[in-house]
């Protein structure tokens, strides 16, 4: 590998350590970087440092943001009495893209995973409970992933909230729109059957 330049090799190694970038792509990226105009390279490096250094968690919903309060929590066009609980900011972004959800969020920054040693204290659950005490909340929608960790987290949160009397719901699980039944796993098929709704 060191036949051309140690600096390119080191850069390729840096890229290869990022998720989803293999050795070949990392090398291609490194060669691309050295052939880019210098100001574009500076802009990339600056964006990397800037994002890492100036990011923080929203005071209310714990999502990643530049400000003390994220744009959604700061907006008076949102329904602050409905809180959707998601695992991370990417999931929040996915629901925001639908353009239909008008409530606010709570970002757990993870999910309970005994296997990975992540317990209720390692995720932003205390912050959620504090919100439920201080804010006037009418519904908590749990939108954690439909994985073992996501389901465990959903069950845990719903038990935790129940005594307060605030209604807790869970997003529906079933056959995805456009999904072909023959390609869908049995667990999902049974979930879809159990969750059937009258037409």
């Amino acid at each position: 590998m060191d036949s051309y330049s140690g600096k390119i090799t080191r850069l390729a190694e840096q890229f290869a350590s990022l998720p989803g970038i293999g050795a070949k792509s990392a090398q291609r990226l490194a060669f691309h970087i050295v052939s880019m105009p210098e100001e574009n390279v500076s802009a990339l490096a600056e964006a990397i440092l800037d994002a890492r250094r100036n990011i923080r968690f929203c005071k209310y919903c714990c999502t990643l943001t530049d400000e003390e309060v994220c744009p959604i929590c700061a907006s008076d066009k949102r329904d602050h009495s409905t809180i959707m609980v998601v695992e991370n900011a990417r999931d929040l972004a996915a629901y925001e893209k639908t353009g239909r959800y008008e409530g606010v969020y709570h970002v757990l920054q993870g999910a309970i995973s005994p296997a990975a040693g992540i317990g209720p204290n390692e995720i932003r659950l205390k912050e959620l409970m504090r919100r439920l005490q201080s804010e006037d909340v009418k519904e908590v929608i749990i939108a954690t992933n439909s994985s073992l960790e996501g389901e465990t987290t959903a069950m845990y949160i719903s038990k935790l909230i129940k005594p307060s009397g605030i209604p807790v719901t869970r997003i529906a699980s079933g056959v995805p729109v456009g999904g072909d039944l023959e390609n869908i796993d049995e667990v999902t098929l049974l979930r879809a059957l159990d969750g059937r709704v009258p037409l």
Copy 2:
């Protein structure tokens, strides 16, 4: 997209402008960066700037390197009388990986492509001719790609060198090892037939 943080969005846009990184991967990378330890992020940004700022072309073979002369041209273990001509440093790296080639290289930093407006003066051809005059070269092996541009470049170079009397060879073209004949294009099959060797 701006529902979480403008800085993450800007970083994702930067990543998405790199080759082979789509919008989804760019977003995943951006979120990964903000969750990385700060020293790792600094190391990545530093490697990017360092590679771009301190890279130059080897005085002899024109490959990308940190020094005035690349490690291969500087090595006295290599056969400096055999020059393999390649299009770019990635191709050089591919042949270096075989561990069998003991000569040196010349990196054209491109290939002649009338369609893209790249003529013989846009690639490092003058530098090659200068080497052939000043060094004692016994063979020039042309290892440009087996594409239209690569073949055009190979023909052009061989004509240019011929008057000097230095032997010019071209790497073999044919069916790749492990290749299944039924999946190989006709041009390659005919090339393999034309280039058949006695057993």
